[in-house]
């Protein structure tokens, strides 16, 4: 069932286009992430859903009701901000119960809901604390409980973990997903952190320069990026321009090195130039029986990244990164030595734009 629908949303600030023809339908209970670099329009889109910005054109519907020009305080949309935005003059309990107090609920009902929400975020013992008596992670948990206390139709999170350190960020990320699944609440999550988006989301909307580049589940976004931007932004990637030799067989030429791809050459002719992308982890050093997509190059650098070792190689005049799991039995070529690497046909992605 469609819960939230954004149709042809367009937003300009003066002459600058912030969001351009944004279309999205969100199912009830879905967790959607808007992923993109700074200035790509993800926060502006979220703020339009919250009602803090008005679209220049387009419509926003929630449960088939047009929300486009409804004021933010009448939308029943819960929002969590990057800077927590807890009210400094109120205790944790007062913060969490504020929305219900505004809705003029009974005191007993507010107290019960506050207890439920604080138990949901495991902060039952912090009711009387003020925000300045809490750490960043605790404050963001309270902000989440406050947004959920009003039983919103939809939960909006605007880079909620950006201000936290790595350990707390990881813990809170899991907690957000647990609470979202427990409550079954439709959630829109804005982030520039691909790891967050990939680990949390049912679907990811990758945005660039106000436009949607690709919508898909994390598996699709990572493994089958449709555009060069998505391929580059999500995960690390090796890209190279190649020449089409045989579009039917998927044969490509990269400065003399022959490559094969499993698809993506529809409509291409012999001699066309296309851009290909290969994930670093899709490469392997050549074993004797391997025959397809063998590339020869020279090892330029080797970097240990803990569980992974990254080998940088020069192949056909381009620099390629290759990731392999670190294990005690791992044998690596030395820097400056020639080496052969290979990848499957499916690993060679042809980018459309």
């Amino acid at each position: 069932m469609i819960h939230l629908e954004l149709t042809h949303i367009h937003k300009t600030f003066g002459t600058s286009v912030a969001v351009d023809d944004f279309n999205l339908t969100v199912e009830q209970g879905e967790f959607i992430s808007f992923l993109g670099p700074s200035g790509c329009g993800k926060t502006t889109t979220l703020r339009m859903i919250a009602g803090f910005e008005l679209p220049t054109s387009g419509t926003i519907k929630l449960n088939d009701n047009d929300l486009t020009f409804i004021s933010p305080n009448k939308r029943n949309v819960g929002m969590v901000f990057q800077s927590y935005a807890l009210f400094p003059n109120m205790t944790v309990a007062q913060n969490v119960g504020y929305g219900m107090r505004i809705a003029k609920k009974q005191k007993s009902e507010i107290a019960s809901r506050v207890t439920d929400m604080l138990s949901l975020i495991h902060m039952e013992k912090f009711t009387a604390r003020y925000p300045y008596q809490l750490s960043g992670g605790q404050q963001q948990r309270v902000a989440l409980a406050r947004a959920l206390a009003i039983s919103p139709e939809i939960l909006l999170l605007d880079e909620p973990l950006s201000a936290l350190d790595a350990k707390i960020r990881f813990e809170l990320r899991q907690e957000i997903r647990r609470i979202q699944q427990q409550l079954g609440i439709t959630t829109i999550y804005v982030t520039h952190d691909q790891e967050e988006a990939l680990s949390l989301s049912d679907r990811i909307v990758v945005m660039s320069q106000g436009k949607i580049e690709q919508i898909g589940n994390p598996f699709e976004i990572y493994n089958f990026p449709k555009t060069r931007f998505v391929a580059n932004f999500v995960g690390s990637l090796n890209t190279a321009e190649v020449e089409v030799i045989d579009p039917q067989k998927g044969m490509l030429d990269m400065n003399g090195a022959q490559l094969e791809t499993a698809g993506g050459l529809e409509g291409k002719s012999k001699g066309d130039k296309v851009m290909i992308a290969i994930r670093p982890e899709r490469f392997n050093f050549v074993s004797e029986e391997k025959k397809e997509n063998v590339l020869e190059g020279t090892v330029e650098n080797i970097t240990f990244l803990g569980s992974v070792v990254r080998v940088q190689m020069s192949i056909g005049g381009s620099s390629f990164n290759m990731d392999t799991f670190n294990r005690p039995s791992l044998i690596l070529p030395k820097i400056g030595e020639p080496a052969q690497v290979t990848c499957s046909q499916k690993a060679v992605l042809v980018l459309t734009d």
Partner: protein
């Protein structure tokens, strides 16, 4: 070595400044105690407090100060809030406008008010209560630089936009945001502006003198023309009121800071 020398200089100039400020004050205080020949006592203070015109002036100025503070806060809190939220680029313009009472002499303000509002259609100077309206308007202008700056500093210390949006997303109207979130978080700033405005209004002379109202300022000047010891006592009383206001401000801001130092780590 250099550090030691600069410390000595700092102490020297600090002491010099304190002496420059406190010696005349001590002189005034000492003089105010010498009304009775050969005895140090509070006779001048007793006479001041026994004078019904002092209490009339005190009551009048006190009432004017309270009304001025209430109206100033009602005007400036929503205005500065709105400016921060909707037109933050207007802040430099507001800075210049609110500093005008420091640039334009008080006498110019008084003559402007009298010339504009003592003739038809207003004729506010015909009755005492309408003149009081004019007095309050003048006091609001005079205390504007202090009130605006106090509230401005308060607004800068909180994230006005995000707090407003957070409250709105929870269902708050504009009025509820102001009442529940903004004003409680500006309490100290409002108190600061109010106390400085209070001290300004209590000592104001020109406006009350030209509009012929029984304020404390003109009373102090009149006493100064005919008496010797009572004006010194009045000067000390006036200082005491100002310092009491500043002391209150210091107490409340200190308490707030002490509370904030209690931070719990996760």
């Amino acid at each position: 070595m250099n550090g030691k020398r600069s410390n000595i200089f700092a102490i020297f100039w600090g002491m010099a400044a304190l002496l420059y400020f406190f010696v005349p004050l001590y002189g005034t205080f000492d003089f105010s105690l010498r009304m009775e020949r050969g005895v140090l006592g509070f006779k001048a203070y007793e006479l001041v407090f026994a004078d019904p015109r002092f209490w009339q002036g005190f009551r009048y100025s006190f009432t004017m100060a309270i009304i001025t503070i209430v109206i100033s806060v009602s005007i400036f809190v929503p205005t500065v809030y709105w400016m921060y939220l909707k037109i933050p680029k207007a802040r430099p313009i507001m800075d210049v406008i609110t500093i005008l009472p420091f640039i334009i002499p008080g006498i110019v303000l008084v003559f402007g008010l009298i010339r504009t509002f003592s003739r038809p259609p207003f004729q506010l100077t015909l009755r005492s209560w309408t003149t009081d309206i004019l007095m309050v308007a003048g006091y609001i202008i005079i205390s504007m630089p202090y009130m605006f700056r106090a509230i401005d500093v308060g607004m800068r210390s909180i994230d006005v936009r995000t707090l407003t949006e957070a409250a709105q997303s929870l269902g708050s109207s504009w009025f509820e945001v102001l009442k529940d979130i903004i004003i409680p978080n500006l309490r100290l700033a409002i108190l600061g502006g109010a106390l400085i405005s209070f001290a300004t209004v209590m000592g104001e002379l020109i406006l009350a003198d030209f509009l012929v109202r029984p304020a404390l300022g003109p009373y102090m000047v009149r006493i100064g023309l005919t008496k010797a010891y009572e004006p010194a006592a009045l000067a000390i009383i006036s200082y005491a009121m100002t310092w009491f206001s500043l002391g209150l401000l210091q107490f409340f801001s200190g308490r707030s800071e002490r509370q904030k130092q209690f931070v719990i780590e996760e």
